[in-house]
Amino acid sequence: MSRKGYVLTLDITIALMIVLGVLFLSAIIINNAQTGTFLEMQQVRLANDIITVLDERGTLQSLNSSLINSTIQEILPSTFDISMTIKTYDYDIGSQNFIYKNRTKVSGVTNETDRFIGQGKRTFVKFSGTGVANYSVLEYNVWVK
């Protein structure tokens, strides 16, 4: 009788310890699931905002990397960093092709691979007196410092 009771107690104890283990694991997973997502979304939105503002203010069209960089640094919160590459093309009407003209690189570089890097692309045009002067494709990376 006594032996049987002991086995049952051990049985319940092991079962409860397993339940406790599962609960602790769930707590860890729930805590870890929270980190990052909002910050990542904010980071992507902020980068997109900045690119939109630079485009609408005409700063991007200047293709002046130091001007673009200084404007970004004024708006971008200090916890973030951004890098971008602008590839500029001319349009050749004769061949109806885009001809690569030059490349402008702006701002920081990160070699970190273990963190989230938001990426985006934007196409914009530069107008001259007679029409479109050139077309540009901007690619950016944004990350938390």
Binding site: S2, G5, Y6, T9, I12, T13, L16, M17, V19, L20, L23, F24, S26, A27, I30, N31, A33, Q34, T37, F38, M41, Q42, R45, L46, D49, I50, T52, V53, E56, R57, T71, E74, I75, L76, P77
Partner: protein, 169 residues
């Protein structure tokens, strides 16, 4: 008589420890599950707040609101929007939003769809000069901040939205 009594005491002690340990485990399971439930509820509220902050800031900086010229007749506003063009904040819309919020904060919350939360909005130039601040200026608890880069008066500016729920840690 004596050996019988001794045996009974051993069994009793065994049972006492077993029940004690069992109750301790049950208690731990209960405390952990209550704590887990509380944490997951808090996380869900935080998720809601973050989602709301993103949606409201999108709404404010990307569109003109509904109807699009709501600032000229503030009583008809259904959706706030401060941008004439995407990311270009219009003075008249910003002023109308500030006036509505200053005069009837709860109405603003209702239009923004955040009756259970509190918020404030601040527009400032990149050099820190504050252009407008409106809403509840006493944030408490877990505050979600959203900063959006915009154009105001042909200059780069920042729109800061803070949203919180008082009971959230």
């Amino acid at each position: 008589m004596y050996p019988k009594s001794r045996r009974a005491q051993t069994v009793f002690l065994d049972l006492f420890f077993a029940v004690g340990f069992f109750l301790l485990l049950i208690g731990l399971v209960l405390i952990t599950s209550i704590n887990l439930k509380y944490k997951s509820e808090q996380n869900m509220i935080k998720d809601d707040l973050e989602r709301e902050a993103i949606l409201i800031s999108d709404m404010l900086v990307q569109g003109p609101g509904y109807p699009s010229s709501w600032e000229s007749n503030r009583s008809v506003v259904e959706t706030f929007g401060l941008a004439g063009i995407d990311h270009q904040i219009q003075f008249s819309k910003l002023l109308a939003f500030k006036r509505i919020t200053d005069s009837d904060y709860n109405k603003s919350k209702q239009i923004l769809g955040i009756e259970n939360e509190d918020f404030f909005v601040q527009m400032r130039y990149k050099n820190g000069t504050i252009l407008a601040t409106t809403g509840n200026l006493m944030p408490q608890g877990h505050v979600v901040n959203m900063k959006r880069a915009v154009v105001y008066n042909n200059n780069e500016a920042l729109l800061v939205l803070a949203i919180w729920r008082a009971e959230l840690e």
